[in-house]
Amino acid sequence: MCGICGILNLKSPAPINNNHLRQMTYALGHRGPDETGAYIDNWIGLAQSRLSIIDLSSGSQPIHNEDQSLWIIFNGEIFNYPEIRESLIKNGHKFYTTTDTEVILHLYQEKKEQCLADLNGQFAFVIWDSVKNEFFAARDRVGILPLFYKIENEKLIFASEAKAIIEISDSVTKFDPIGLDQIFTYWTNLPGRTAFKDINELAPGHYLKFSPNNGISIYNYWSLPFDKNLLSEDKSIPDFTAEISDLMKDSIRIRLRADVPVGSYLSGGLDSSGITAFVKNYFNNELRTFGITFQEESFDESEFQNLVIKHLSTNHSEVHATNEDIGKYFSDIVYYGEKPIIRAAPVPLYLLSKKVRDEGYKVVLTGEGADEIFGGYNIFKETKVRKFWSVNPDSQFRPKLLQKLYPYIFKDKRLAQTLQTFFKLGIDDPNNDFFSHIVRWNNNLRLKNFFSDDLKEQIGSYNAYDDLKSILPKDFAKWDYVYKAQYLEIITFMSGYLLSSQGDRMAMANSVELRVPYLDHRIIEYMATVPSRFKIRGLNEKYLLKKVFKEFLPERIVNRPKNPYRAPIKNSFINNKFLDLNSILSEKEISHSGIFDSNKVNLLLKKALKAETLSELDNMALAGIISTQFLHNDFINYKRLNVPDDYRFNTFIDKRNISN
């Protein structure tokens, strides 16, 4: 994996500032500490900081084709590159490295944008055709790897992280009011937007093209293939299980391709345990695993981790997340994540990737995506129960199923009836596009009460629900309600939060690459053909995946109730000597950033200091406000990085023949 960045002239050739490229790669140094490289001509500057995983000796980027007309910078992995390479060689292509990077370039030469259909992987890359002056940038199907851009002064500035763009931007970066409104509704931005004004993200499954004559255009090349007509209604459970098992095996097999050892995260849940079991059984008996334990018992899963470690006898290392550490490193994860965040859960993952790196590993497999693709989340089951309830909204019996779903919320039996009322929201409109998520999102809306009057005014009449509605697929209304829920969860939470704030960013902060077997597009496409009644049987989630892993894992792991991965907020943030909340949330600081109402923030802090426990919403507000304040100091109230004079590109190709 790597950090990529660059600057493209949009109107006419003009000298590209080499120092800007240096500043950008320097800002992305954590993504690629092994070496750097750059290419400059009259139109473009491409640069990259590399984390070497395949072809360690000769894979330096930018990489070119035979006649050096095409140049590429690439962040990611193409897992099926050996097969593609072989067929390209048969067609006469000549390679000077053994990298996957060079394979993309030749495939592009052959097929242009159609090349994306052949790629199985996680990627963000940029190709420059220096003869035709054509620019091509693409991002993987579900957004495992990031790519940001900004158009400024007739230039396109692009980078793996927004910080590299901010670093060289002519104007002072500001928060985007709409971007903030989205984050405090969905926990993340809708595809394309960021927390920063004028800085965009290339959406998952999209590519961007530019030529001086045609300008910039953006296209969608892949979307979640949910289509009623494609459902395999005639298959049996053993058919599904056998086919999923084969696909999983192959997905893991190609994700073990690397010139460095590959480890695996192990949480003690079904998803990561299943991957670990498959690697161990089919591919690598010496597997290294890594896991998190928590100081706070209610968050800790070590009992289950130990069960799997013993069962599979893996060589395991763990990182212990104390409340103090979670508070202490919260500012770090905001810097790397570049988004306000209403959870503390990324911090332990940041500590875990550091552990992986310290143990000499650069690449790990993780279980992300299984819950979205195979139907694991409570929100899917909640939708099912509410759908069942909606048939007879006055039933006393139907909503009782919610208690089965959320025993921890309903543990105070006295409140059962009152609680039910909250889940009743929207029950009279079961065909609503947002039926599955409306309870959760409406609850989040209350976070916006903390916004300052000024910010509210800037947001104006913008409505995040309408915005999301406008990007839904045309036939969305006709979909099965579980597919609708899956879709909404994937394009918001999974791509924007799980794979980013909690995924790539937390791993790359410590120069570690994540590989995500459940998000092999063949698996996503296959699971889209499985009727939802097989994904969740009654209220038994991930039914088919459990079947697949049954013979490889202890019974307790397969049948344990799903435990959401979380980290404590209040107990980590309050009375933590590394987090001076009186100063971070002081009236002066809050007024300075201008995002929140300082009186309200003050009352929230008072409440948090006094209360023994905080409600879910207050916890989210606390994390959201603190992280936004950190972000303000990191990127808005900002001093440029000090790039050392002796910081040089290891590879530098200069084809400029005009000067200032």
Binding site: R414, N599, K600
Partner: protein, 89 residues
């Protein structure tokens, strides 16, 4: 002499401080607390605990229905009837 205690006044201040964080402009005695999203599922726990602590009452299981806490007026009515009811052994 009967002292009129306005339970809802005291409760209102609690709700403004703890759920609205100081902004009570939109909170009237008949504002629906749950429908308007002022109090959420876990907030109910806080509200009931406050009522029990402050007014020295114990809210019985069967009294924990939404109707008793749906608005400040409802809370007032509930507490008036609860506190003024004759003590029985």
């Amino acid at each position: 002499m009967k002292i009129e205690i306005q339970y809802s006044e005291i409760t209102k201040q609690f709700i403004i401080d703890n759920f609205l964080f100081g902004n009570g402009a939109k909170l009237d005695n008949d504002t629906p607390l749950f429908e308007k999203g002022i109090i959420d599922s876990t907030g109910v726990l806080e509200l009931v605990a406050f009522v029990e602590d402050n007014f020295k009452v114990t809210v019985a299981d069967e009294e924990l229905v939404l109707e008793n806490f749906s608005s400040l007026n409802a809370i007032e009515k509930f507490l008036q009837s609860k506190i003024n009811q004759p003590v029985t052994n």
